[in-house]
Amino acid sequence: MDNGNKSVVIRNLVKKFGDFTAVDNISFEVAKGEIFGFLGANGAGKTTAMRILCGLSRPSSGEGTVAGYSINREQEKIKRHIGYMSQKFSLYPDLKVFENIELFGGIYGLTDKQIAKKTDDMLKALSMEKARDMFVRDMPLGWKQKLAFSIAMVHDPQIVFLDEPTGGVDPVTRRNFWEMIYKAASDGVTVFVTTHYMDEAEYCDRVSVMVDGRIEAIGSPASLKEQYGASDMDGVFTKIAGRAERE
C-alpha cells in the first residue's frame, strides 16, 4: 500500500470475539497532521479498534497500516512509532518528573544524550524547569496532563493516540490541553483522539462515529452537522448513536 501522506489507512477491518463481532468491517484513513476524533457510544467497538491500531491486538480480518506499518505483520514496529496517552494511565506518580521522561525515553530507545536534551527541551517548552525534581504525584492535574502528553511524544512519533485524555478534567485545564493538541497538529503530528465531550468533537478536523461495530458517519464537524441537520456535534451524535442496537 502506498500511504505517503496518510498516518492511518484501514481497509475492511473486522474483529470477532467468538460469535460476537466487535468491529464490523470498518475502513477509513487519517491524513498526516490531522486531528481525528474517534467517537462512538459505549460498547460501539472503539476500544477494540483502537487496540488493533496500536498494535495490541490482531484483526480477525482486514488490512491496514499505522505510521506506515502493517497492523497484521508489524505490530512491534507500530508500538515503537506511535505515542499513546490515556486519562487513566500515563505517568508513574512515584517517580520524579525527570525520571518519568528518562524511563519513557529509555523504553523508546533514546540514547542518554538524546534523553538529556529532550528533558531540557520539554521542561522549557512546558515552563516546568523548576518541577524537574518534583514527584509526579504532587503535581497539579493540569501540569500532569501536559507532561503526559509531551512524554507520549518523547520519541517524536508521527501519530499520537489519546484515549479520553480529558475525562473529568476541569473546564480550564481541558481547554488548555486542546490548545496543546492543536499546537502538536500544527507541527505535523497526527492526533487520534477519543472523547465523550461533544464540544471537543468540534475541535477535530474530522470525526468518525461508531455504532454497533460499524463507522456510521465520517467527515468534518461542519459537513456532519449539515448532513444530519444538527446545530452542534451533540445533536449529530444523538441522531447517529441514538440508533444503536447494542450497548
Binding site: 457510544a41 473529568g168 473546564p171 461542519a222 448513536a241
Partner: protein, 303 residues
Amino acid sequence: MQEELAIRVEGICKSYKDTKALQDISLDIRNGEIFGLIGPDGAGKTSLFRILTTLTLPDEGHAEVNGNDVVSDYEAIRRTIGYMPGHFALYQDLSVAENLDFYATVFGTTVEANYDTIKEIYSQIEMFRDRKAKNLSGGMKQKLALCCALVHKPDVLFLDEPTTGVDAVSRKEFWTMLARIKASGVTIFVSTPYMDEAGLCDRIALIHEGKIIDRGTPAEIVSRYPDRLYSVRGDNMFRILNVLRPIDGVLRCSSFGCECHVAVPQDGPDATLLLAALENAGLHGCSVEETEPGIEDCFIRLS
C-alpha cells in the same frame, strides 16, 4: 424549616495529610429535589459523599441526613439512604438477580416488597437476570447498580459521578431515569464533572479545589454572571483565541465547541472592535454576537 431539609452540611472540613480536600463546606439540600454537586476530578466531591454516607469522619463541622447526625446517628442514616459510588459496588460473580437479592437482604427487605420502586429500571435488565454482573455492558451495570441502591426504598439517593465515562446518549437516558426517581419522592444528591448536566438539576453547587465557589438554581448562578459575553465563530478557532486574548479589556477567551466565548467588562470592547481585530489579523468571515453565559462560563470565571 428544618424538616424540609434532606441534607444539612455545616462547616465541613477534611484533610488528608497536607491536602485540604474540603474547606468549610456548608450546603442545604431540600427534600424531593435533585441537587447537583458539580466540579472536576480532585475537587472534593467524593470526600463529601463519603462523609454524608457515613463512611469517613469529617475533621471539623457537622452534617445531618434526614435529621440524623453523620457521626452519632450513622446507623440510622445507613438504613435510609441509597449510595451508588463512582465504581459500581456490584458483586461480579453474582448474577443480576443475586446482586439485587443480596442488597435487599442486607437492608432486611425483599425485592418483591419494593418491586414498584425499581420496576421501571429493572424491567430494562430483567431479561439478563441470570447473567453474571461481570458480563454486563457498562450501561446495564449502571442500571443494576441503580436498582441495588434503590431496592430498600431509600429517602435520599447519593450518586457519585454516575455518568463519568458514559457516552453522550447514555448520559441523557440516565438523567431521564433520575427524573422518574425524583418523581417518586426520592431526594437525589448527585455529583458530576459534566457542566452540561447542571441544567438538569433543581439546584447545584459548584465545587473547585475543596471549596464551594457558587450555589443556587442554575438560572440564579447564570444571572449572577457580571460580564458581557460574546460568541465568536470562524474557521480557525485556535487562531481566533490567540488574536482575541491579548486585546485590552478581554477578561477571558475560551473555546466552546464551534464557538469561542469572549468575556469583557460591561464597558469593555464591543463587537465591532473584536471583529476589526480579527480582520486585521487576516481572519475574515468571522461573526461576533452577544450571547448568554452557561454554567461552564460561570465555572471558568469563578475557578
